[in-house]
Amino acid sequence: MEKRFMKGCEAIAEAAVRGGCRFFAGYPITPQNEIPEYLSKRLPEVGGAFVQGESEVASINMVYGAAATGTRALTSSSGPGISLKAEGISYLASAQLPAVIVNISRGGPGLGSIQPAQSDYLQATKALGHGGFRAMVFAPATLQEAVDLTYNAWEYAERDRGPVLILMDGCLGAIMEEVELPEMKELNYDNTEDWCLARVNGREDSHMITPILPELALEMLNKFKGMTYKMWEMADVKVEEYLLDDAEYVVVAYGIAARVAKEAINTLREQGHKVGMIRPITLYPFPKASLDNLDYEKVKAIIDIEMTIPAQMRDDIELQVKGRCPVHEYGRSGGILLDDDGVLEAIENIVKGGA
């Protein structure tokens, strides 16, 4: 294991390369430019290809082409650019091609603000493109977690043959922390599965990759995908449950917001307040059971903390709480960051107010 003090964007770019990524296409947008900049130098070193696309639209379609060859392909962007990629992401889903997409999100909507925000939860988990498909969404809170999730993202994308999204905010993209980098994966591309265009010249069979299907086949695909999403809920949920055993107040937060909330929870615990946290690591599949299984005899309130206004995860939380306790929300948005004092005060007000 190799330790390095790295910037978030560069850490996930390196983790992608070590996880087997050999193709990247992307278009400049703040705050994720260090990903393409890093990969424009790094990919040629490992025999991979880097293309700066003429737009986000073109870039995601280059990834679609690269993925069709069995190459582990990546694109990255930020909110406005992810909107443009929506078309291509939907095509990846229908053509059943694996790819990884990184969103280093910023203040929205519109051109919004180039400063960090968690404003793309709904886009990520509900409608990453048209047509009603879902993608697995990973939301790391530390750079180490970002490295580990990115490194293994293609294993999920290839297992289920579809897009996987890594959702981070601009803070995590820009922050520098120490990370342990995993070993380079050794991949044997010559044995590529039969879902892709042959990598080996002269393969006997040919293959059609199509984003358009006859009605019955399309419905079969949709039913199959529906089953896959159910399987994710059973097998692939990742969640951190923090000090829940005796918790009277439960914070739900992901990514950078969860780190700020955890600091506040530690302070409140020192003061004797029973506060815990559920931190979804997969935003989709959402950790429903963690919320559903809380002891609502004890839990007095849930506090949804997000770096966006209004809170976007709240609907998913309320569906599991089912009215068994009040749900509160606190956030900052538009590129104004959450901070330790603000979050502590917000939780304190609810805890001490006995709400």
Partner: protein
């Protein structure tokens, strides 16, 4: 003796094109050249949206459907990962010259080493005959019921001319498929483009002037005459750029 057998690059089935549609002929020419160069197992056909998408079902080799206008981006991703494969896109004029203008111009400008086959029939065939970026002035369509008016819709886009002024492309040519000579020339052009690609020379662009009897509202034979009097004088056939030939 010329062969009239079905090229093995095509499956033994009907193409799905309307009677008299030159798309079917264009597809066949591409398949013939793939056969002649013995590239059936090496070729990857990047198929676009519109009537050209009907090729998905008749092509026998590797193929992939691309989103509307995005075929050159998809082909870029494929070719960068599989540089030894013969990669080409097959696109219509709405796909290539309107929604996909950024993708075609940028791929051409990067000098991507693949071939674009551009079937220009001056209409959106599959969606029912709306005005295309290549619809001629005065030509009627379902969205220009009184004929295309330059004052509000501008002029038909000349893609060969546009692409030929870029530095990177190596071979850019236009052929009209409404005469036996045009067909023979087109086949030679496609072959030359594929050979240049296989030699790693760079971006090649073949525009094929085709018809649409259904949406033009004419008999197939009348469309051929219409092309002579209207299409060809505006979209003049010829080799617009031949970098290797100039050397």
């Amino acid at each position: 003796m010329p062969s009239y057998k079905r090229p093995s690059a095509l499956l033994p089935m009907s193409t799905g094109y309307c009677p008299g549609c030159l798309h079917a002929l264009a597809t066949r020419l591409v398949a013939d050249v793939v056969d002649e160069l013995n590239q059936q197992k090496n070729a990857i056909n990047v198929i676009s949206v519109g009537c050209s998408a009907l090729n998905l079902y008749s092509w026998s080799g590797d193929e992939i459907g691309a989103a509307h206008g995005r075929a050159p981006a998809v082909a870029t991703g494929i070719k960068r990962c599989l540089p030894d494969r013969l990669v080409f896109t097959y696109q219509g004029d709405g796909d290539l010259a309107a929604i996909g203008l950024a993708e075609i111009m940028s791929a051409a400008n990067r000098g991507e080493n693949f071939t674009v086959i551009f079937a220009n029939n001056q209409t959106y065939g599959m969606t029912g005959g709306q005005m295309a970026p290549t619809t001629l002035i005065g030509q009627k369509s379902t969205t220009t019921p009184f004929g295309r008016d330059a004052a509000t819709t501008g002029y038909p886009l000349k893609m060969c001319e546009l692409i030929s002024v870029l530095e990177a492309p190596v071979f850019v040519a236009r052929y009209a498929l409404n005469s036996p000579k045009g067909v023979m020339d087109a086949k030679k052009g496609i072959k030359k483009a594929f050979e240049l690609q296989l030699a790693g020379k760079g971006f090649t662009f073949i525009e094929l002037l085709t018809n649409c009897p259904t949406n033009w509202g004419m008999s197939p034979l009348d469309t051929l005459d219409y092309m002579n009097t209207n299409t060809i004088p505006y979209f003049v056939p010829g080799v617009y750029k031949d970098k290797e030939g100039e050397k």
